[in-house]
């Protein structure tokens, strides 16, 4: 695809980055601030009711969820959740350690701390907060970062509770775990000053490095969550939630811009075809009979359980539902996402892609006849209970109408591929009101001065230090500062002074990059496991040649270093074993030795290393082989 001219498109990007803090306890209670792996000890169910805003209005998406009869099931174990998380006890006073960390981040981002912190309740009723609201407060306003000579503005720095973890959604029940609820999060929101996908990635990285330099933010996968707000001129604001990894941000921005550009082109195509909103037929046709004998499992199952199949006719829309918006996303899929959210349907079918999925050509013909559609028209069908099908197709209809105007404002989610998918409508103005259970917190100038005189080093200073103190090359030092492994690096070097720092650094930077390229989920390996790996290395319980294989083995699985060593059979050879192997190998190599003399040692080394790489120290082995060869030589 041709590369896009972001400037002429009027691209505006803003970032909302959420960082989980590594504090001793949660933000409003004294539970430990770590995720729990123990079994749930309690389970209970709640219904969260939409309440009225000051305007007497109820948030439409919230009311919709409530009427659909959503029951929320919460699971908790008593190590990671107390009565506060269960909404059975008022919150405790705010965690001052978290406040200090948030203020430190604010100072590092040149923001202005507020004089008095007011904790607010932000209403959320999808179940992710047991109280039906999230406790959040703004800690600082304004600020900026400098990025290659351009200044990106910061709007605010907020401190808030993390939400409960969604486990799964089954029909009208949604399951959450409460261990994560209440862990402190710092949210950094930028102004929409970012102008290109690569700038978005760079800004996220720069802010991330600054926040992590406090040493108090968690850096495991899932502890940094990135939301990206994207809009182009003539397009609309898309709030993209949950971009998993920093490296995905530029791709998400690029895909979203493409999607919006293509939607605008779709709008133009509709005009070109001489179509207008009034041409869209709002009738829902009952076409259940057409599919009485269908081979399509989805439809026959729906009919079998007493459901219906309804159809929508989109006149002269042929080809528009298979209109590609970005790679892997067609307009028909957008409609399917709307049907899924509003009608709880698994999907829709449409004639741009039929016959397929077990629906025969003759069924398609019969379908067209039943609704009076010709080959230039598209027919959309949905199967399920009457209520769901009606709600789903009505949503499809509304989305089609909006296509005539261009791009709707939406909240979308980011897939691991970098494509965004519709998630829900944009919420109304955030309904926030004071959290009267928490007293206001005055921030004294003295507190700010204290924090200011104890700020962690800026990245540029750290590069210098790594070069001077640890003897790293400039390249490695810069890469280290750009990574999320700095803290770990220093911890390891201080704990194990026998390890050459360059080996630690290159393992953390170069080895992980190599593995990541191979598709190994190395980002899922916890810092504790890495630390353990280096401890083993320092204690001689493994050799550095074994490291890539061990990391690859541990990644994405719950095993530790010794288990990986066992599995890979990479435990270092004992001296006894080594002597035996060397003796055997040298004995076998009589011809080689007579031919090459002492140089045969190198070849013998190579062949032993092929068999036992990772289990032996190469230089020591070389010495042993030489000695043995020398012994044999006349």
């Amino acid at each position: 695809m041709a590369s896009l001219d972001y400037e002429s498109l009027g691209l505006r990007v803003g970032l909302e980055l959420h960082f989980q803090l590594a504090t001793g306890s949660k933000l409003f209670c004294r539970c430990p601030a770590t995720l729990s792996e123990s079994e749930a000890k309690i389970r209970f169910e709640r219904r969260l009711r939409p309440t009225q805003s000051e305007l007497g209005e109820v948030d439409p998406a919230a009311l919709f969820e409530y009427r659909k009869g959503l029951t929320i099931v919460y699971e908790a174990d008593d190590r990671s959740a107390c009565l506060v998380e269960l909404d059975e006890e008022p919150p405790h006073s705010i965690n001052e350690e978290a406040v200090d960390i948030a203020l430190t981040i604010a100072l590092l981002l040149n923001a202005k701390p507020v004089d008095e912190i007011h904790v607010m309740r932000k209403v959320v009723i999808d179940g992710s907060n047991t109280a039906g609201f999230q406790r959040t407060c703004v800690v600082a306003l304004g600020g900026w970062i400098d990025l290659d000579g351009r200044r990106i503005g910061i709007q605010s720095i907020c401190l808030e509770e993390d939400a409960a973890r969604i486990v799964e959604r089954r029909g009208d029940r949604i399951y959450y775990k409460l261990d994560r609820l209440g862990i402190p999060l710092v949210e950094v929101s930028t102004s929409p000053d970012i102008r290109s996908p690569s700038e978005a990635g760079a800004a996220a990285l720069a802010i991330g490095r600054i926040v992590l330099s406090t040493g108090k933010a968690r850096d495991e996968l899932g502890s940094i969550r990135q939301d990206v707000n994207i809009s182009i001129r003539d397009g609309a604001l898309a709030e993209v939630k949950g971009v998993q990894h920093l490296s995905l941000i530029p791709k998400v921005v690029e895909n979203e811009v493409r999607r919006q550009v293509r939607l605008l082109e779709l709008r133009d195509e509709l005009r070109r075809r001489g179509l207008s909103k009034s041409d869209v037929d709002p009738t829902l046709y009952d076409v259940t009979d057409v599919f009485k004998q269908t081979q399509c499992r989805v439809i026959s199952a729906a009919i079998g359980s007493g459901g219906v199949v309804y159809a929508l006719k989109l006149p002269r829309f042929r080809g528009l539902l298979s209109w590609e918006l970005t790679e892997g996303l067609r307009f028909g899929m957008e409609l399917a996402d709307y049907a899924a959210f509003w009608g709880r349907l698994g999907g829709i079918f449409h004639t741009d892609e039929l016959p397929a999925y077990g629906i025969s050509a003759s069924e398609v013909e019969a379908l067209r006849r039943a609704v009076g559609a010709n080959l230039e028209d598209v027919v959309v069908i949905a199967a399920g209970s009457r209520d769901n099908v009606e709600d789903g197709l009505k949503a499809v209809l509304e989305r089609v109408i909006v296509a005539f105007d261009g791009v709707p404002e939406e909240t979308r989610r980011a897939e691991p591929t970098g494509v965004t998918r519709y998630m829900r409508p944009r919420p109304g103005a955030a309904r926030m009101y004071p959290e009267t259970d928490i007293p206001m917190l005055i921030i004294e100038p003295r507190r700010i001065e204290n924090l200011r005189s104890n700020l962690p080093e800026l990245p540029s200073i750290r590069v210098k230090r790594y070069i001077e103190e640890y003897g790293l090359s400039r390249k490695l030092a810069e890469e280290l500062v750009n990574s999320l492994y700095e803290d770990l690096f220093e911890r390891v070097c201080r704990s194990f002074p026998s390890l050459p720092p360059s080996i630690v650094a290159s393992t953390l930077i170069e080895t992980t990059t190599m593995l990541r390229r191979r598709g190994v989920p190395v980002d899922q390996i916890s810092t504790d496991r890495f630390y353990e790996l280096f401890r083993f290395l320092a204690e001689g319980r493994l050799f550095k040649e074994a490291i890539p294989d061990i990391l690859a083995c541990m990644a994405g699985r719950g095993i530790d270093v010794s288990e990986a060593l066992e599995e890979l059979k990479l435990k270092p050879l004992t001296d006894e074993e080594l002597k035996t192997i060397v003796a055997e190998e040298v004995a076998k190599s009589g011809e080689l030795i007579s031919k090459h003399g002492l140089n045969a040692a190198k070849i013998i080394l190579g062949s032993i290393m092929r068999k036992y790489r990772g289990r032996v120290n190469a230089s020591r082995l070389a010495g042993m082989i030489e000695d043995e060869v020398r012994r044999i030589l006349p």
């Binding site: 000051e54 039906g132 955030a430 926030m432």
Partner: protein
């Protein structure tokens, strides 16, 4: 709001400053300080906040406090952005063939609404407000609402119980099918006991209901409690005074506890109320009322009368090691007519208190014994102290809750003066407060 200049919560120099700029709560303001611009709406200051700060609700919805004493602050009033008007919720029409239920409001968390702009809690006065957060009520009953008063339940006195009882009496006379009383949870148990005694032979259900979480929260227990209470008032078969609250942590059951047996046992949980030394009498789940016992008073025409006088000079005294027995003397010397003791174990107090108690009894004061164990039955025949206490005239009150015993004694001594009669009445089961058998199921 302009022209009103209430400047709620602001005092001293800050108030003067705001007045000089001509800005009031709810006005759009721009405040510049230290190069930072704050734009939004002027919000009220809470009473206990420090002076010297201005609160602004920013456009993002967040509130911030701005220190004025640092100086260099510039405040400007901005033109109003748009008229924000409260749109009351659409009131569903209750069908005329539904039972009629009256909701009497006495206050409490359940009957409050939050002003989202200020965070101030305001009481709910009308049925419209209740329908606003619980529209399902329109499918259950025709509802009338009366606010009897609106106070924190810890500020209630026996005189308030009398007022509530007499209002209930009036509505019984008008022929309603059931009565719901909203109440603060802190002393709801006491009021429930009081009404149990004051409403003699009540022919319809009287359901006290509260909430542990305010209705402005989506997670509030108010709605389910209210739905359960109104359903019971409309169609439950029992005609007793009960308390209706959540049965557990889930939003699936409302439990009805007999008014003389119920107690708030947890500071904050939504299932804080428990029946002690008794089973609850009914439960609401899946939109139905299920009775949990056959032993209850049925609805029906009877000789109903209100006897709502309460003698206030009654004390509830909790005994503990090192208790100063002269406290008892104080009650005697200050005209008290009755003392309920919360003793330890089977109904014991220190031997040092026996003489002061004898003095009390001899001066015509009723002294009754209950246990701070709460669960179980008092028996003062087992140990020597108990026998000595009985010998000087202490009345063991079986398995009665201390708080219920207090309320009952207030009610009894408002109608009898003779101590023997008082003793007889105290030991007679009037509203389920005393039982002759204890089930092994009744414990925590």
């Amino acid at each position: 709001m302009s022209g009103n200049f209430s400047l709620q919560g602001y005092k001293g120099k800050v108030k003067e400053l705001l007045l000089s700029v001509g800005v009031d709560i709810g006005d759009e303001v721009r405040i510049v300080k230290d190069g930072m611009v704050y734009e939004g709406v002027l919000a009220p200051r809470v009473e206990y906040g420090e002076e010297g700060y201005i609160v602004v609700k920013l456009r993002s919805g967040y509130n911030v406090g701005i220190r004025v004493s640092d100086g260099g602050i510039k405040i400007e009033r901005l033109p109003a952005r748009r008229e924000v008007r409260y749109k009351p919720p659409v009131i569903p029409r209750a069908r005329s063939n539904l039972p009629s239920v009256v909701i009497l409001g006495t206050g409490g968390t359940i009957a409050s609404r939050v002003d989202y702009r200020t965070g101030a809690v305001t009481p709910i006065f009308s049925a419209d407000d209740l329908y606003g957060f619980t529209p399902e009520l329109a499918d259950i009953a025709r509802i009338d609402v009366e606010t009897v008063f609106n106070i924190f339940s810890e500020d209630m006195t026996p005189r308030h119980w009398s007022t509530i009882a007499s209002r209930i009496g009036d509505y019984v006379g008008k022929g309603v099918d059931g009565i719901v009383v909203t109440h603060g949870t802190d002393t709801m148990g006491y009021t429930a006991a009081a009404l149990s005694f004051a409403l003699r032979s009540i022919p319809i259900p009287v359901i006290l209901v509260g909430a542990q979480r305010s209705p402005d929260r989506p997670s509030s227990d108010a709605a389910l409690n209210l739905i359960g209470a109104v359903t019971a008032a409309a169609k439950a078969p029992f005609a007793e005074v009960v308390v209706a609250m959540h049965g557990g942590l889930s939003d699936d059951e409302v439990v009805f506890h007999r008014g003389t047996r119920v107690r708030k046992c947890h500071t904050s949980r939504r299932d804080a109320f428990k029946s002690i030394n008794s089973d609850p009498i009914a439960i609401y789940r899946d939109r139905r009322i299920e009775m949990l016992t056959e032993d209850y008073r049925r609805r029906g025409c009877r000789e109903f009368r209100v006897e709502a006088e309460f003698e206030e000079k009654i004390a509830l005294v909790k005994f503990y090691p090192g208790f100063d027995h002269r406290v008892l003397d104080w009650y005697v010397d200050n005209g008290y007519r009755g003392i309920i003791i919360e003793g330890t174990g089977l109904g014991h107090i220190s031997g040092r208190c026996i003489q002061p108690i004898k003095r009390a009894v001899d001066s015509g004061i009723f002294v009754g014994m209950t246990s701070q164990c709460l669960w179980g039955r008092v028996n003062m025949n087992v140990y020597r102290t108990g026998r000595e206490l009985q010998a000087v005239g202490v009345v063991p009150l079986e398995d009665m809750l201390p708080e219920t015993a207090l309320v009952k004694l207030m009610w009894v001594l408002a109608r009898v003066k003779d101590m023997d009669e008082a003793r007889k009445l105290m030991l007679t089961d009037i509203a389920g407060e005393i039982a002759s058998r204890t089930s092994f199921r009744w414990y925590a």
